[in-house]
């Protein structure tokens, strides 16, 4: 059974189109991430599903039931807001107990449930205190407690880790994953950080300017991005995209740019090979770029490294290859360890050729 199904959801505010024909399904017990830059429409999407905004068009089904016309309180969803929204005049205990008390659950059961959740999130010491005395991380955990204390058909989390220190984020991230796997709760998790999305999700939906650009598994999105936006948004550092010309040399397809000239026989395997335009862009993931100190068979292309980011477990080389600027990821002890001339090599993949008109990858 699907936990959530959206059909053609549209929502505008004044003249701005926040959601543009949004359609997707979230399976039962799935961890579904919606990832995209700020103002892509992610918060609007969650609030519309929860019923706090009324869509201009489209349908929302939760567990097979059409809830498009229903009030928020009847939808059995849980929403954790981006700005946390703990009730400031209620203690930690009362905040977490809130959904249960509103549903008129008997007080003994409320107490048990709240204690369970508090133990899980390690916030027992906060139950008697007011939110204004909590630290950022503590507020977050109490808010999460309130969101999960009552079983719901769908748990929605709006950038829950964004306001936290980098270290706490990494620690809490895995807690989310654990929680979800153990409880089997269907989750929609919204974030602008693609690392979080890749780490946590069963499937990812990339949202940009109100439209879903692509929906798929982390592997699928990473290795077969649909368009330029997805290719550059997912993956750190982002995929290199270099403009090139496709020419035919003795029946072999060759990609030519100011920095390289590579024969790519595998290109003929593309279904649309015959209709490929002359100018297109070649995509290469930074970890697939080979770097060497001198010209060799594996690294035939001359370039210049102008910045090395030493990140401990790896180094990122920023380099110029002809007119293009590319990034390459190498190990921490790589032989090329200072700025200056270096040699590069890569193998263009057929499914990483980008149509410059439609900004989509050829299939």
């Amino acid at each position: 059974m699907t936990a959530l199904a959206l059909h053609g959801l549209c929502k505008s505010f004044e003249q701005v189109l926040a959601l543009d024909d949004v359609t997707c399904e979230v399976a039962d017990s799935e961890f579904f991430c919606v990832v995209g830059p700020t103002n892509a429409g992610k918060s609007t999407l969650l609030k519309t599903i929860a019923g706090l905004h009324k869509p201009d068009a489209g349908r929302i089904d939760i567990c097979g039931r059409d809830v498009t016309a229903e009030q928020p309180k009847d939808r059995r969803v849980s929403l954790l807001f981006q700005n946390i929204a703990l009730f400031p005049t209620l203690t930690g205990y009362e905040n977490i107990a809130f959904p249960l008390r509103t549903a008129k659950v008997p007080e003994t059961e409320v107490a048990t449930r709240v204690q369970e959740v508090a133990a899980l999130l390690k916030v027992e010491h906060l139950l008697a205190r007011l939110p204004k005395t909590f630290s950022g991380g503590e507020q977050q955990r109490v808010a999460i407690g309130r969101a999960i204390v009552q079983a719901s058909d769908l748990l929605m989390l709006d950038e829950p880790l964004t306001n936290l220190d980098a270290r706490i984020r990494i620690a809490l991230r895995i807690e989310f994953k654990k929680l979800q796997k153990e409880s089997g709760q269907s989750v929609i998790y919204v974030t602008h950080d693609q690392v979080e999305a890749m780490s946590l999700s069963d499937r990812i939906a990339v949202l940009h300017q109100g439209r879903f650009q692509q929906i798929g598994t982390p592997d699928g999105i990473y290795h077969r991005p649909a368009n330029r936006f997805v290719a550059r948004f997912i993956g750190t550092p982002p995929m290199n995209l270099m403009e090139a010309e496709l020419i035919s040399q003795a029946d072999d397809p060759v990609l030519v740019a100011s920095g390289f000239r590579l024969a790519v026989p595998a290109l003929r395997g593309l279904a649309c090979y015959d209709s490929l335009p002359r100018r297109l862009a070649v995509g290469v993931r930074p970890e697939e770029v080979r770097v060497g100190p001198s010209e060799s068979e594996k690294t035939p292309l001359a370039g210049e490294v102008f910045w090395i980011e030493r990140l401990g477990s790896k180094s990122v080389l920023d380099a110029r290859l002809g007119d293009a600027t590319i990034k390459a990821v190498v190990g921490p002890d790589h032989v090329v360890s200072r700025e200056g001339p270096a040699w590069f090599g890569f193998d263009p993949k057929p499914h990483y050729l980008l149509d410059l008109q439609s900004e989509e990858f050829f299939r």
Partner: protein, 295 residues
């Protein structure tokens, strides 16, 4: 700190003292006059603080016999006929001001909520609402009198209450609106998602948070109502007497110019306002939302 800095400080402090003197002088004069005997009321040069303090004026305000005695004692100079005791004025003012304040704040809160959460009337609506209040009330006196007499509201409690509510509503809405805006919609959203209807969410979550703001608005409106004169004057003709009317009655052909009595009544009528302010003081607590909301 250089000498220059000290000079600036002296000037600043002097300016503050001067403005305080100007602001508090009328109150000082009022209280001082209320204790002056009859002869000193209109003295020139003015007597700042009397050497012969008396409670005569207060007695005239509160006790009809004292008023009659006084009137009799003034026989010969002017024919004083002091109107009845001021108790009715206190009673009428209290009833009217309190009820008018309650109505204004209640409707104002509901309207402000609608304007903030649902953007009723568009973005400029609150400002348009306020401009209605910008023309001088005296301009609508004549139509008001006509309307009230047609509606049989002249000289009734509810007539004046309605009029006061209508005229203070723009202020209510304007002030309470800003307090509601300070409370993020997500708080109500959280309550709604967890099972409350919209209105219940507002009442349970938002109202307690704006309590201080609503109370301070109420105080402001109360002061406006309590000290209102123009409409009290034209919309009543004796059945309803507010404090402001009563004070005016002490300067008339029949009463003469009873400055001292006016001062006494004025002094006494500040007491309820001060008490009200003191009572709600502990509710004016800011920063309640600190720590529960991330911006």
């Amino acid at each position: 700190m250089t000498g220059q800095g000290t000079w600036v400080t002296v000037v600043k402090r002097a300016a503050v003292v001067l403005s305080m003197l100007i602001a508090f002088f009328p109150i000082f004069w009022l209280v001082s006059t209320s204790f002056k005997p009859f002869e000193e009321w209109a003295n020139w040069p003015p007597i700042w603080i009397t050497d012969n303090p008396t409670l005569q004026n207060y007695r005239i305000v509160f006790f009809p016999e004292a008023a009659r005695e006084f009137a009799a004692a003034q026989e010969g100079s002017l024919d004083y006929k002091v109107s009845g005791s001021a108790w009715k004025a206190f009673k009428d003012s209290t009833i009217i001001s309190t009820l008018a304040t309650l109505c204004s704040v209640a409707f104002g809160t509901l309207a402000a909520y609608s304007i903030v959460r649902f953007r009723t009337g568009g973005d400029n609506y609150p400002f348009q609402f306020l401009t209605v209040r910008m023309f001088p009330p005296i301009a609508v006196v004549v139509p008001m009198v006509a309307m009230f007499s047609i509606l049989r509201l002249s000289d009734t409690y509810w007539g004046l209450i309605l009029a006061y509510t209508a005229f203070t509503l723009p202020f209510s809405i304007w002030m309470i609106r800003s307090f509601i805006e300070d409370v993020p919609a997500e708080l109500e959203g959280a309550a709604m998602v967890h099972g409350m209807g919209q209105f219940r969410a507002f009442a349970t979550v938002t109202l307690p948070l704006i309590k201080g703001g609503v109370l301070s608005t109420a105080l402001f409106i109360f002061i406006l109502n309590w000290s209102e004169f123009l409409f009290a004057l034209v919309l009543t003709s004796g059945d309803v007497v507010t404090i402001t009317i009563q004070v005016a009655n002490y300067v008339s052909a029949s009463s003469g110019k009873l400055y001292g009595v006016q001062a006494a009544m004025g002094t006494v009528s500040t007491v309820p306002v001060i008490v009200f302010g003191y009572l709600i003081q502990r509710h004016l607590v800011r920063g309640l939302t600190f720590g529960a909301i991330k911006r």
